[in-house]
Protein backbone atom coordinates (compact mmCIF):
# COMPACT_ATOMS: atom_id res chain seq x y z
CA UNK A 1 0.00 0.00 0.00
CA UNK A 2 3.02 2.29 0.25
CA UNK A 3 4.32 1.56 -3.23
CA UNK A 4 2.22 4.18 -5.01
CA UNK A 5 3.51 7.00 -2.85
CA UNK A 6 5.88 8.40 -5.44
CA UNK A 7 2.98 9.64 -7.57
CA UNK A 8 1.56 11.83 -4.85
CA UNK A 9 2.31 15.47 -4.10
CA UNK A 10 1.73 15.10 -0.36
CA UNK A 11 4.52 12.52 -0.01
CA UNK A 12 7.12 14.96 -1.28
CA UNK A 13 5.78 17.81 0.83
CA UNK A 14 6.03 15.66 3.97
CA UNK A 15 9.59 14.61 3.06
CA UNK A 16 10.53 18.27 2.61
CA UNK A 17 8.96 19.16 5.96
CA UNK A 18 10.85 16.31 7.67
CA UNK A 19 14.20 17.40 6.21
CA UNK A 20 13.45 20.98 7.25
CA UNK A 21 12.68 19.80 10.79
CA UNK A 22 15.88 17.74 10.97
CA UNK A 23 17.83 20.81 9.88
CA UNK A 24 16.16 23.01 12.51
CA UNK A 25 16.97 20.40 15.15
CA UNK A 26 20.61 20.38 14.05
CA UNK A 27 20.91 24.17 14.11
CA UNK A 28 19.45 24.37 17.61
CA UNK A 29 21.43 21.53 19.17
CA UNK A 30 24.83 21.71 17.44
CA UNK A 31 27.64 23.37 19.35
CA UNK A 32 30.12 24.01 16.57
CA UNK A 33 29.73 26.46 13.72
CA UNK A 34 30.48 23.83 11.06
CA UNK A 35 27.73 21.60 12.47
CA UNK A 36 25.28 24.48 12.17
CA UNK A 37 26.36 25.06 8.56
CA UNK A 38 25.74 21.38 7.76
CA UNK A 39 22.26 21.64 9.30
CA UNK A 40 21.57 24.77 7.24
CA UNK A 41 22.37 22.78 4.09
CA UNK A 42 19.71 20.26 5.16
CA UNK A 43 17.14 23.07 5.49
CA UNK A 44 17.97 24.29 1.97
CA UNK A 45 17.59 20.74 0.63
CA UNK A 46 14.16 20.46 2.27
CA UNK A 47 12.93 23.68 0.71
CA UNK A 48 14.32 22.65 -2.68
CA UNK A 49 12.33 19.42 -2.50
CA UNK A 50 9.19 21.48 -1.89
CA UNK A 51 9.89 23.65 -4.94
CA UNK A 52 10.52 20.60 -7.11
CA UNK A 53 7.36 18.86 -5.86
CA UNK A 54 5.12 21.80 -6.71
CA UNK A 55 6.97 22.13 -9.99
CA UNK A 56 6.22 18.52 -10.88
CA UNK A 57 2.61 18.28 -9.72
CA UNK A 58 0.88 21.64 -9.86
CA UNK A 59 2.81 24.27 -11.85
CA UNK A 60 1.82 24.76 -15.50
CA UNK A 61 5.42 25.35 -16.62
CA UNK A 62 7.66 22.59 -15.23
CA UNK A 63 10.84 24.48 -16.20
CA UNK A 64 10.50 27.32 -13.72
CA UNK A 65 10.82 25.23 -10.59
CA UNK A 66 13.91 23.46 -11.89
CA UNK A 67 15.57 26.81 -12.64
CA UNK A 68 14.59 28.03 -9.17
CA UNK A 69 16.19 24.96 -7.61
CA UNK A 70 19.35 25.54 -9.64
CA UNK A 71 19.51 29.10 -8.27
CA UNK A 72 19.00 27.79 -4.73
CA UNK A 73 21.98 25.49 -5.31
CA UNK A 74 24.15 28.38 -6.52
CA UNK A 75 23.22 30.55 -3.54
CA UNK A 76 23.86 27.61 -1.20
CA UNK A 77 27.31 27.13 -2.71
CA UNK A 78 28.10 30.83 -2.22
CA UNK A 79 26.76 30.63 1.34
CA UNK A 80 28.91 27.60 2.11
CA UNK A 81 32.05 29.30 0.75
CA UNK A 82 31.51 32.51 2.72
CA UNK A 83 30.42 30.68 5.87
CA UNK A 84 33.43 28.37 5.85
CA UNK A 85 35.88 31.22 5.30
CA UNK A 86 34.29 33.09 8.21
CA UNK A 87 34.60 29.93 10.32
CA UNK A 88 38.29 29.63 9.43
CA UNK A 89 38.83 33.31 10.32
CA UNK A 90 37.02 32.77 13.65
CA UNK A 91 39.18 29.69 14.29
CA UNK A 92 42.38 31.68 13.69
CA UNK A 93 41.24 34.32 16.14
CA UNK A 94 39.74 32.22 18.94
CA UNK A 95 41.48 28.84 18.32
CA UNK A 96 38.05 27.20 18.48
CA UNK A 97 34.99 26.64 16.29
CA UNK A 98 32.57 26.44 19.19
CA UNK A 99 29.83 29.02 18.89
CA UNK A 100 30.08 29.67 22.62
CA UNK A 101 33.74 30.68 22.49
CA UNK A 102 33.31 33.65 20.17
CA UNK A 103 32.24 36.08 22.89
CA UNK A 104 34.23 39.21 22.11
CA UNK A 105 31.11 41.38 22.01
CA UNK A 106 29.81 40.03 25.34
CA UNK A 107 29.75 42.68 28.07
Amino acid sequence: MMLGLYNNLNTFLVIGALLFGIGIYGIVTRKTLIGMLIAAELILAGSSINFMAFNRFTAPDPVTGQIFTLFIMAVAAAEAAIGLSIIIAVYRHFKSIDAEDAVQLQG
Binding site: M2, L3, A17, G21, I34, I67
Partner: protein, 177 residues
Amino acid sequence: MVASPALLSVDGLVGVVFLIMVAITLIGGLIACNSERLVRSVAGLIVCFVGVAGIYYFLNSPFVAMMQILIYVGAVAVTISFAIMLAAPEEKKKTGVAGPLSGPLGFGTAALIAGGFAVLALRTEWPVQDKINDGSIKLIGIQLLTDHSMVFELISIVLLIAILGALVIARDGREDS
Protein backbone atom coordinates in the same frame (compact mmCIF):
# COMPACT_ATOMS: atom_id res chain seq x y z
CA MET B 1 -5.19 8.23 -2.67
CA VAL B 2 -3.84 6.48 -5.72
CA ALA B 3 -4.27 2.75 -6.13
CA SER B 4 -1.26 0.75 -5.01
CA PRO B 5 0.51 -1.35 -7.66
CA ALA B 6 1.57 -4.95 -7.10
CA LEU B 7 5.03 -5.47 -5.64
CA LEU B 8 6.52 -7.29 -8.62
CA SER B 9 5.12 -5.06 -11.34
CA VAL B 10 7.25 -2.29 -12.82
CA ASP B 11 5.39 0.40 -10.87
CA GLY B 12 5.77 -1.58 -7.66
CA LEU B 13 9.53 -1.91 -8.04
CA VAL B 14 9.77 1.80 -8.82
CA GLY B 15 7.87 2.39 -5.58
CA VAL B 16 10.36 0.21 -3.69
CA VAL B 17 13.28 2.22 -5.13
CA PHE B 18 11.50 5.43 -4.12
CA LEU B 19 11.05 4.22 -0.55
CA ILE B 20 14.76 3.30 -0.42
CA MET B 21 15.67 6.82 -1.61
CA VAL B 22 13.45 8.40 1.04
CA ALA B 23 15.01 6.19 3.72
CA ILE B 24 18.52 7.14 2.53
CA THR B 25 17.61 10.84 2.67
CA LEU B 26 16.12 10.78 6.15
CA ILE B 27 18.77 8.48 7.66
CA GLY B 28 21.53 10.62 6.14
CA GLY B 29 19.94 13.75 7.57
CA LEU B 30 19.69 12.18 11.02
CA ILE B 31 23.35 11.09 10.88
CA ALA B 32 24.37 14.60 9.77
CA CYS B 33 22.65 16.15 12.79
CA ASN B 34 23.37 13.57 15.50
CA SER B 35 26.83 12.10 14.99
CA GLU B 36 29.52 12.84 17.50
CA ARG B 37 32.30 13.69 15.06
CA LEU B 38 32.11 16.33 12.38
CA VAL B 39 33.64 14.09 9.70
CA ARG B 40 30.85 11.55 10.17
CA SER B 41 28.40 14.39 10.03
CA VAL B 42 29.71 15.38 6.60
CA ALA B 43 29.49 11.74 5.49
CA GLY B 44 25.84 11.72 6.58
CA LEU B 45 25.30 14.93 4.64
CA ILE B 46 26.70 13.29 1.48
CA VAL B 47 24.40 10.27 1.94
CA CYS B 48 21.44 12.61 2.44
CA PHE B 49 22.26 14.56 -0.73
CA VAL B 50 22.51 11.39 -2.81
CA GLY B 51 19.03 10.47 -1.57
CA VAL B 52 17.74 13.95 -2.41
CA ALA B 53 19.16 13.56 -5.93
CA GLY B 54 17.20 10.31 -6.24
CA ILE B 55 14.04 12.12 -5.13
CA TYR B 56 14.66 14.79 -7.79
CA TYR B 57 14.90 11.99 -10.34
CA PHE B 58 11.45 10.81 -9.27
CA LEU B 59 10.20 14.37 -9.80
CA ASN B 60 10.97 14.19 -13.55
CA SER B 61 14.15 16.26 -13.30
CA PRO B 62 17.25 14.21 -14.13
CA PHE B 63 19.20 17.41 -14.88
CA VAL B 64 18.61 18.86 -11.41
CA ALA B 65 19.47 15.46 -9.89
CA MET B 66 22.79 15.50 -11.73
CA MET B 67 23.45 19.07 -10.61
CA GLN B 68 22.64 18.07 -7.02
CA ILE B 69 25.32 15.36 -7.15
CA LEU B 70 27.83 17.66 -8.88
CA ILE B 71 27.38 20.76 -6.73
CA TYR B 72 26.50 19.38 -3.32
CA VAL B 73 28.33 16.05 -3.17
CA GLY B 74 31.18 17.16 -5.40
CA ALA B 75 31.78 20.71 -4.22
CA VAL B 76 29.98 21.72 -1.02
CA ALA B 77 30.69 18.53 0.94
CA VAL B 78 34.36 18.57 -0.11
CA THR B 79 34.63 22.23 0.92
CA ILE B 80 33.12 21.45 4.32
CA SER B 81 35.52 18.57 4.88
CA PHE B 82 38.45 20.86 3.97
CA ALA B 83 37.19 23.37 6.52
CA ILE B 84 36.97 20.63 9.17
CA MET B 85 40.55 19.60 8.46
CA LEU B 86 41.74 23.22 8.55
CA ALA B 87 39.78 24.43 11.54
CA ALA B 88 39.19 21.57 13.96
CA PRO B 89 42.19 20.35 15.96
CA GLU B 90 42.40 16.63 16.58
CA GLU B 91 41.23 16.48 20.16
CA LYS B 92 38.40 18.95 19.64
CA LYS B 93 36.83 17.40 16.57
CA LYS B 94 34.02 16.05 18.69
CA THR B 95 30.86 18.03 18.75
CA GLY B 96 28.16 17.61 21.31
CA VAL B 97 24.89 19.18 22.19
CA ALA B 98 25.03 22.85 23.15
CA GLY B 99 23.52 22.45 26.60
CA PRO B 100 21.35 20.22 28.78
CA LEU B 101 18.13 21.86 27.63
CA SER B 102 18.95 22.26 23.94
CA GLY B 103 18.24 18.61 23.06
CA PRO B 104 14.60 18.43 24.17
CA LEU B 105 13.91 22.04 23.24
CA GLY B 106 15.46 21.58 19.80
CA PHE B 107 13.51 18.39 19.26
CA GLY B 108 10.30 20.14 20.31
CA THR B 109 10.90 23.07 17.98
CA ALA B 110 11.80 20.83 15.07
CA ALA B 111 8.80 18.54 15.68
CA LEU B 112 6.45 21.53 15.89
CA ILE B 113 7.77 23.05 12.65
CA ALA B 114 7.93 19.79 10.68
CA GLY B 115 4.54 18.63 11.97
CA GLY B 116 2.99 22.00 11.25
CA PHE B 117 4.26 22.02 7.69
CA ALA B 118 3.19 18.41 7.14
CA VAL B 119 -0.34 19.00 8.47
CA LEU B 120 -0.60 22.19 6.44
CA ALA B 121 0.50 20.36 3.28
CA LEU B 122 -1.88 17.45 3.85
CA ARG B 123 -4.93 19.56 4.63
CA THR B 124 -4.61 22.01 1.74
CA GLU B 125 -6.28 21.31 -1.59
CA TRP B 126 -3.56 22.28 -4.08
CA PRO B 127 -4.86 23.52 -7.45
CA VAL B 128 -3.49 21.46 -10.33
CA GLN B 129 -2.99 23.11 -13.69
CA ASP B 130 -2.31 21.56 -17.08
CA LYS B 131 1.31 21.39 -18.20
CA ILE B 132 2.25 23.68 -21.07
CA ASN B 133 5.53 21.84 -21.85
CA ASP B 134 7.49 18.80 -20.69
CA GLY B 135 10.28 20.50 -18.73
CA SER B 136 13.14 19.01 -20.76
CA ILE B 137 16.80 19.95 -20.45
CA LYS B 138 16.66 21.84 -23.76
CA LEU B 139 13.80 24.01 -22.49
CA ILE B 140 15.70 24.68 -19.24
CA GLY B 141 18.65 25.96 -21.26
CA ILE B 142 16.45 28.13 -23.49
CA GLN B 143 14.58 29.66 -20.55
CA LEU B 144 17.79 30.24 -18.58
CA LEU B 145 19.12 32.43 -21.39
CA THR B 146 15.86 34.15 -22.35
CA ASP B 147 13.21 34.54 -19.63
CA HIS B 148 15.57 34.22 -16.67
CA SER B 149 18.72 35.74 -18.16
CA MET B 150 18.78 38.64 -15.67
CA VAL B 151 18.80 36.28 -12.69
CA PHE B 152 21.35 34.12 -14.48
CA GLU B 153 23.76 37.07 -14.77
CA LEU B 154 23.06 38.17 -11.19
CA ILE B 155 23.80 34.72 -9.80
CA SER B 156 27.15 34.67 -11.61
CA ILE B 157 28.04 38.03 -10.04
CA VAL B 158 26.94 36.76 -6.62
CA LEU B 159 29.15 33.68 -7.02
CA LEU B 160 32.13 35.77 -8.16
CA ILE B 161 31.79 38.17 -5.23
CA ALA B 162 31.33 35.23 -2.84
CA ILE B 163 34.55 33.60 -4.06
CA LEU B 164 36.49 36.86 -3.78
CA GLY B 165 35.02 37.61 -0.36
CA ALA B 166 35.78 34.11 0.89
CA LEU B 167 39.39 34.48 -0.22
CA VAL B 168 39.73 37.90 1.43
CA ILE B 169 38.14 36.80 4.71
CA ALA B 170 40.09 33.55 4.97
CA ARG B 171 43.39 35.22 4.04
CA ASP B 172 43.09 37.97 6.62
CA GLY B 173 45.05 37.26 9.79
CA ARG B 174 47.46 34.69 8.44
CA GLU B 175 50.76 34.84 10.23
CA ASP B 176 52.96 34.92 7.13
CA SER B 177 51.00 37.50 5.13
